[in-house]
């Protein structure tokens, strides 16, 4: 049976992605759903849930509402709640049921905004796409609503946006701090971080940057928008290790000067007998870092089945099917991946690299921070 996961886990869904992306911006995010989507998100996918308040809701869709097309109840609930909580914006997204019956969340958002005056929008989801799809679209939609034209004077230092940061890919605050340190040590200025340790004012100021750094596939859609609308180029790559971080630093300078987009991993990949499992931008970045810092050659098996495929080399592959993946892994001596892939890796040498979007909070405390740091102990 294709596209089934009998042994391994599955990645977080697009609705979790939307909530994760919008968590820190002071808005009210509502999953149109009977129940379940929100508890999956809060229980498994959101490490900030117990430390940071955010307005994440489900609509409580009933069978009767669905069959009768009773959208008015959702509209009224949204208006009452928004008037009480005064969110900065209202974001709606669909679980499988409203997606199947074709509930027009864009029209509902329009009606709610007309009544409350609060910016409202619907993020395209169906509860069945990957978290990358949800995060990417949420980032794009919020940016389109709140971005302001660059009004600042030119800065002496290079201003960098970090795009694609959510706890689903970077669950620990240390990752963010390391990225900020990398930017600072390089002599650059952190203009905005989209997704984590952030606020709506950073979305407003996105156009002030000279260059974008895409640290996961979730940032690519917004990066394309910023390139098309504001001519801000991007660099793809996570500054893992020391050598690759240096290459990213150089790429950021080159991109800002040439206005050309750069895949920082492109020149630092060689086919090998080590497999890295996971999201494409982070996994290829790790492969480049291992090559530069330790001379280890690694192939990437992109396991989300979504995201930036352009970054993959011919010896990499995208594989979200458990059976095919299990067979493919037999070719490798060493495997690096989330612990929940381990059961299909036979007796191969396995190096655990927890990924929140795949195993939730189960192994977060064991997740190493590899950004802008020595890979000696990894």
């Amino acid at each position: 049976m294709n596209q089934t996961a009998r042994i391994i886990s599955i990645y977080a869904a697009d609705t979790s992605g939307v909530c994760s992306a919008l968590y820190e911006y002071g808005g009210m995010t509502v999953i149109h759903d009977a129940s379940g989507c929100n508890s999956t998100y809060t229980t498994h996918d959101e490490p900030r849930w117990y430390d940071k308040k955010s307005m994440m809701f489900i609509s409580g869709l009933t069978e009767k509402d669905a069959v009768m097309g009773n959208d008015d109840r959702l509209i009224n609930d949204l208006i009452i709640t928004a008037n009480e909580l005064k969110p900065a914006f209202i974001a709606l997204c669909a679980s499988p049921l409203p997606a199947m019956i074709g509930t027009d969340l864009e029209a509902i958002a329009y009606a709610v905004e007309s009544e409350t005056g609060i910016p409202s929008f619907a993020v395209k989801t169906n509860g069945m796409n990957s978290y990358i799809y949800g995060v990417a679209n949420a980032f794009l939609d919020i940016a389109k609503r709140f971005i302001k034209d660059d009004t600042t004077d030119k800065s002496d230092s290079l201003r960098v946006n970090l795009l694609g940061m959510t706890p689903l890919d970077f669950p620990k605050k240390e990752s963010y701090l390391s990225l900020v340190k990398f930017i600072k040590d390089a002599g650059f200025e952190s203009n905005a971080c989209v997704g984590m340790e952030t606020s709506l004012s950073e979305i407003e100021s996105l156009a002030n940057a000279d260059v974008n750094l895409i640290v996961s596939s979730s940032g690519k859609l917004l990066a394309d928008y910023l390139y098309d609308e504001y001519n801000i180029p991007y660099v793809k790559g996570v500054p893992y290790g020391i050598g690759f971080a240096e290459k990213i630093k150089e790429a950021l300078v080159t991109a800002s000067e040439t206005k050309e987009n750069i895949d920082a991993t492109s020149d630092f990949r060689e086919e090998g007998n080590v497999a890295i499992l996971g999201e494409s931008v982070m996994s290829t970045s790790l492969a480049s870092a291992l090559l530069l810092d330790k001379g280890i050659k690694a192939n990437v098996l992109e396991t989300v089945g979504d995201g930036d495929f352009d970054i993959l080399k011919s010896f990499d592959m995208s594989c979200d099917d458990e059976k095919i993946l299990e067979n493919e892994l037999k070719k490798y001596d060493v495997i690096i991946g989330d612990p929940l892939f381990k059961p299909i890796c036979a007796d191969k040498k396995y190096i655990e690299l927890p990924h929140e979007a795949f195993s939730g909070r189960c192994f977060t405390k064991n997740a190493p921070n590899l950004i802008y740091t020595s890979l000696e102990d990894f």
């Binding site: 097309g69 199947m100 019956i101 074709g102 509930t103 027009d104 864009e106 029209a107 509902i108 329009y110 009606a111 007309s114 009544e115």
Partner: protein, 254 residues
């Protein structure tokens, strides 16, 4: 861009009106797309000389995958009109409304409008606005105006009233508005008075009056619209006048 959704009671002549209007717009030099939103998939038949296009949903059912290009699910008909049919599920099974939504999502993914760059898009929608799927063509970004086709028959006017009421319910959603009524005559007693009374009571305009004509049936038997068959016929002139009105309004930004 002219963006029209055409509604009306089943069997009232929506497909005839739509395909003749498409042909009339094309005859006047416009680049037109017609999308049939009916599981029967016969909206564009008279634009294609009896060589039907493969409907989108049928493609997905037969091949168990989504089409990868517009070429697989569209065909160019009379006057360069690009013809697309949503098709639908196996009769008695599935969900036709969902099929329309799926088709529209797919056409968006395939960048239909960006690729074809039409001057006019016409959606020929099955019967009443029976569920969310059949309201999909009048959502934001798709049709901006609705034309209701009716005759003077009681059930046709009843359906027209239902459609108008459904659109009224959407007034807070930035959906399309009813532009007016096309009277497709069946030669029933006091037909014009009945339709005019309905139009006046609902504050609607009769924007075209299509005479009962054997020419329509004659050319349909040949797989043609009357515009293709003979644009000088009085019935053809009715469609051309409607097309001219819509073009004029579009150019004036109305």
């Amino acid at each position: 861009m002219i963006k029209i959704a055409i509604y009306g009671k089943g069997g009232i002549g929506k497909s005839t009106v739509t395909s003749n209007l498409s042909a009339a717009l094309a005859y006047l030099g416009k680049r037109v797309i017609q999308i049939g939103c009916d599981p029967k998939a016969d909206s564009t038949a008279n634009l294609l000389s009896g060589n039907p296009v493969f409907p989108v949903m049928n493609y997905m059912r037969d091949y168990d995958k989504e089409p990868e290009s517009l070429k697989e699910i569209s065909k160019v008909g009379y006057g360069g009109v690009l013809c697309i049919e949503t098709g639908g599920p196996t009769p008695g099974l599935g969900c036709a409304g969902r099929g329309i939504i799926t088709t529209f999502s797919l056409l968006e993914e395939l960048k239909l409008f960006e690729t074809f760059k039409p001057d006019a898009v016409l959606y020929d929608v099955l019967g009443d606005v029976v569920c969310g799927g059949f309201a999909a063509p009048i959502r934001e970004g798709l049709a901006s105006k609705i034309i209701i086709v009716t005759s003077g028959e009681k059930m046709a006017l009843y359906a027209a009233n239902n459609i108008n009421s459904a659109v009224e319910n959407f007034k807070e959603r930035s959906y399309a508005n009813v532009r007016g009524i096309v009277l497709n005559r069946r030669n029933v007693l006091n037909e014009e008075e009945k339709v005019r009374e309905f139009a006046t009571s609902h504050n609607l305009e009769i924007i075209a009056d299509i005479p009962r004509s054997d020419d329509i049936i004659r050319f349909e038997d040949e797989g043609k619209t009357v515009i293709e068959g003979d644009p000088n016929l009085p019935v053809s002139q009715s469609f051309l006048n409607l097309a001219k009105l819509l073009i004029k309004e579009d150019e004036a930004g109305i």
